[in-house]
């Protein structure tokens, strides 16, 4: 059983993930490498970032990322380089433009719409407060309860 579990763990994608190691000239570059490789999306195996994917293209992009970091490129320059080749798709957090505006703003839009709905609901309740029972209704309720209760 334990052996099976070990095998399953070894076969999971995260165990396969990072295959190569890079020597960075500074720890700052290494941490930027980790951040960027998690933000960049693999064009081939979608829904994996290039850090997790072992598709050949993801490996190539990691090499490019490493080389550009060592060459002193800024995060923005590197992201622009990737976007110029693979489109906004390659970023998990695409820039806000006309195409991605809906993606970015719809959560806020939905929140505002929901908020308006709630406000409206309570306003209506205020305008029509519960009026209580008329004498006839109370009599009816009493009769029903008498029948049901021991």
């Amino acid at each position: 059983m334990r052996r099976l579990l070990c095998m399953l763990i070894l076969m999971s994608s995260s165990a396969w993930a990072v295959i190569e190691t890079y020597e960075f000239s500074s720890p700052d570059l290494a941490s930027r490498y980790h951040l960027l490789s998690q933000e960049l999306r693999c064009p081939k195996c979608q829904n994996q970032n290039i850090a997790d994917s072992n598709a050949p293209i993801a490996r190539d992009l990691r090499v490019v990322l490493y080389e550009q970091l060592e060459a002193g490129q800024s995060d923005q320059q590197i992201l622009d380089f990737m976007v110029a080749r693979y489109g906004q798709f390659v970023r998990y957090r695409p820039e806000v433009d006309r195409q991605t505006a809906l993606l970015w703003w719809s959560p806020l839009l939905l929140l505002v719409l929901g908020g308006l709905g709630v406000v409206r609901h309570f306003r209506q309740k205020e305008r029509h407060p519960e009026r209580g029972l008329t004498a006839m209704e109370r009599e009816h309720v009493d009769r029903l309860l008498k029948d049901r209760l021991p």
Binding site: I57, V83, A84, Y86, G87
Partner: protein, 185 residues
């Protein structure tokens, strides 16, 4: 007040329409970032002659640039159709992507050579600049060398007629008379 009753129905209809449209979208099809731009400049050897070539070698257009490699199984599938297209006069330039040049030359010798020339992109830099993420891919270049279209996957007659033939109007008439062989699968 009556209109209000139909709001849930309207919301449902809109949602259904949205989701229905989602069914027909291919999530693996990526928009090509390089559309409308000239073919990225490069300086790489030609596969057969080993002479250095650059983007000006890919003119005149309209032409196809086919990304292929010997390790790519689907490339073997589309190869007969590329030969047929070349025979009909469609200029096809090859981008031999991350491949062993010796094997690639052997492949062309064995299976036939549909390409006007081949960029030997051994480390994949031209492919990267172009936004290639696999093989096969086929790009349409306009007369001025601008990228007009990208097709990802096997190029066959159906794809050609639907998406690519429009840039080769002379061929459309010709193609009806004698459709390329071995391409209908």
């Amino acid at each position: 007040m009556r209109v209000k009753r139909f709001i849930p129905l309207a919301v449902f209809a809109l949602l259904a329409l949205l989701l229905f449209k989602g069914l027909s979208i291919d999530p693996t099809a990526l928009p090509a970032a390089r559309l409308g731009q000239p073919f990225p400049d490069f300086s790489q050897p030609e596969l057969l002659t080993e002479e250095l070539i650059d983007a000006s070698a890919l003119r005149p257009g309209p032409a196809l640039v086919n990304v292929w490699a010997t390790w790519c199984y689907s490339c073997r599938v589309e190869h007969p159709y590329l030969l047929a297209l070349a025979e009909q006069g469609v200029p096809i330039y090859g981008l031999n992507y991350k491949d062993d040049s010796e094997k690639a030359r052997q492949w062309l010798a064995d299976l036939g050579d549909p390409y006007r020339l081949n960029i030997a992109d051994r480390d994949g830099t031209v492919g990267l600049d172009l936004g290639v993420y696999g093989a096969p891919e086929t790009y349409v270049l306009g007369a001025d060398g601008v990228i007009l279209h990208r097709h990802v996957g096997v190029l066959d007659q159906a794809v050609f007629e639907q998406d690519i033939g429009q840039w080769f109007p002379a061929l459309a008439k010709l193609g009806q008379a004698n459709a390329p062989e071995g391409s209908a699968q």
